[in-house]
Amino acid sequence: MSRRSTLGLLPWSVCFAVFGLIPLLAALVLSFYSMNPLRPDLTHWIGVSNYARAFRSPEFWHALRTTAIFVVGTLPVTLSLAYVVAALLSRLRRGETFFRAAIFFPATLSMVVISLIFKSLYAEQGLLNGWLAAAGMPRLHWLQDPRLALPSIMAMDVWASVGYYAILILAGRKTLPGEQLEAARLEGMGALEVERRIIFPHVRPVILFVVLLNTIRSFQIFIEVFVLTRGGPLDSTLTLVYHLYERAFYHFEMGYACAIAYILLLLVGLILLVQRRLIAKAPGDAAAA
């Protein structure tokens, strides 16, 4: 690498070290300490006690379960919808640019803005209940009902992320040579067969990327919960990151919060490895591995 390239990388490297690597390592160290940010002078080493405490805590397991439901509930729906939307966009003859922009639009909004929009949509007098009332159906307490609160946040999350992933998958589809599709059609393959045997294997690396990205994002769900429900009602939306936020900033248990963060990091890493292996192992794929 030339000296100029090294210099070019320096600003990013410094930023990464200061805002990424050092905090990451500091959090790892902190997870073995009892640390109250209001009394840093009383910080002391407690070994793996924070980790042991997390595994004994029913609240931790509840938050993990809620997070898992969120991930399992949103990932397949987001992925399927993104794939279908990408397929539809690729078939458009006219207005593709407009629809692509429209579909991608939610990805340009901050999650806080999206959450605030959905907060009013889900309100007792909001648009959704207006539609239900117009259809002669009873109003629903979207964010007040413990059975509906998490699905409501999941629906919002799917809406917010489908466009972004659809564009990624669409980009993958666009790299497929037209001759290959033409040849498949000449061989008498139907549209579904072309999709299954030609296009899907081709975009599988992109799908793997989308799955990994969405898994990471979903495990980190925080803003939606913070803005919409604050973990309630009845802890029905208490996710792992919101739980660690509460422990850190309401109970001032910074070490314990860091331990939860590292458990989450390891868990996500493990799941990503499994996902990568599963998707890469699927028949007919060589590129995804």
Partner: protein, 414 residues
């Protein structure tokens, strides 16, 4: 990078270093002492007050920063952890016990004996007889009544319900007007405010959270159970939602009654100019029984142990709590009332009877205990109240569970 590039970069760095040095020289050469002050009011509201302070104290400057209610707590915690807290900081009363427990705030008792008789709200800042902050602004909630709905229900809006029985009847009658109206707005879906809405009924009935020594839970007292039973009896005729949604439903004329703060007084004339409403004291258990209690919150001024300019911070705090300096802040924001006792007689309230109700409500408002483990106590109480509101537990079961959990907490080793 060529030599020309190096030279340009070198010159840019030199200019930056010189600029920084010049800035540093400017600060050290100046004669003014700077107090760093973090607070929650809009800068437009606080700045005129601080300008007056600077006129009165020409040797001092104030570096003010506005915190947000969403992230203010995190910012304060991070600043303390980093060893660079502001010199003077506005702190909410529910955040205060945690700071006191960790000895983060300095004990001001011996520095402010002269302020004791001039300010109200000392209970909010005192722990074991020592004051860890200075009350600045006091907040409470009162009963808002929709005058039009009261009329439609055959009730006299001039005579809002003053007892639990009258209140329950009024709630039922308004709820019966049509399916779109609800008698009362009951908080749900935001656990952190539940005790603030329920405890006024319990306090009014003679109940409390901890005993006077702060060593024993009295959450499962008969007074509290009676109050929670009454509170839950309102549920069938209530709209259950978050505070902002209840405020909005009240503004739309869909709620007969809601319990809210003075901020709604400022909001309603602009968001709902057609709405006719009254503000009244909270209902008491019965005629001649109990008090019309409410929740007392406060914005207090604290000085951290690691503050750099403690004496100057105290000078600024003393200035801010004076009636003539706190009153303009109330007039500008309408959120909380000056803790200065003299503010009660301010002419501002003569022409504003609705604001006056809040001043009266403050007399019977009760503050939660300043206990080192308040955050956990509050969490337990809110969690159990939520279970009761969602019908998972009876009033008695919820409060008994809260009682045993709080007892266990009080006797656990921290």
């Amino acid at each position: 990078m060529g030599s020309r590039g190096h030279s340009v970069l070198g010159r840019a760095l030199a200019v930056a270093v010189l600029a920084l040095m010049a800035g540093g020289c400017g600060r050290s050469a100046g004669t003014k002492r700077t107090v760093v002050f973090w607070q929650f009011s809009p800068l437009a509201a606080i700045q005129p007050v601080l300008d007056r302070f600077k006129t009165e104290h020409p040797d001092m400057d104030v570096q003010v920063e506005q915190l947000t209610w969403q992230s203010g707590r995190e910012k304060i915690v991070a600043a303390i952890a980093a060893g660079r807290p502001p010199d003077l900081c506005e702190v909410g009363s529910t955040f205060l016990p945690g700071l006191v427990a960790d000895s983060t705030l300095i004990d001001l008792t011996d520095s402010i004996p002269d302020l004791m008789p001039t300010l109200r709200g000392w209970k909010v800042v005192e722990h074991r007889g020592r004051a860890y902050a200075i009350p600045w602004m006091l907040g409470t909630r009162a009963l808002y009544a929709n005058a039009d709905l009261m009329k439609r229900a055959g009730l006299n809006p001039e005579d809002p319900p003053a007892t639990w029985a009258a209140f329950a009847r009024a709630v039922q009658r308004i709820d019966a007007i049509d399916p779109e109206t609800k008698g009362f707005g009951m908080n749900s879906g935001e656990r952190e405010v539940l005790f603030k809405k329920f405890m006024p009924f319990a306090w009014g009935n003679g109940g409390d959270i901890l005993d006077s020594t702060l060593t024993k839970s009295v959450v499962a007292s008969t007074q509290n159970i009676e109050a929670l039973r009454f509170y839950l009896s309102l549920k069938p005729n209530s709209l259950l939602d978050r505070q902002e949604m209840l405020d909005e439903a009240f503004a739309r004329g869909r709620l007969g009654f809601t319990i809210s703060g003075p901020w709604l007084l400022r909001k309603l004339p602009t968001t709902a100019p057609e709405l006719h409403f009254e503000v009244a004291l909270m209902p008491r258990p019965a005629e001649g029984k109990g008090t019309p209690a409410s929740f007392a919150g406060a914005e207090v001024l604290g000085i951290f142990r690691s503050s750099k300019h403690k004496a100057d911070a105290l000078t600024l705090a003393r200035f801010l709590v004076r009636e003539e300096n706190a009153m303009p802040l109330y007039a500008a924001t309408g959120n909380a009332f000056p803790a200065a006792a003299a503010a009660e007689q301010d002419t501002y309230f003569v022409s504003r009877p609705r604001d006056r109700v809040f001043v009266e409500q403050l007399r019977t408002a009760v503050a939660p205990p300043v206990h080192p483990r308040w955050v956990e106590i509050e969490e337990i109480l809110n969690g159990e109240l939520e279970e009761a509101i969602y019908g998972k537990k009876s009033a008695e079961a919820a409060l008994r569970s809260a009682d045993s959990r709080i007892e266990a907490l009080l006797h656990a080793t921290p």
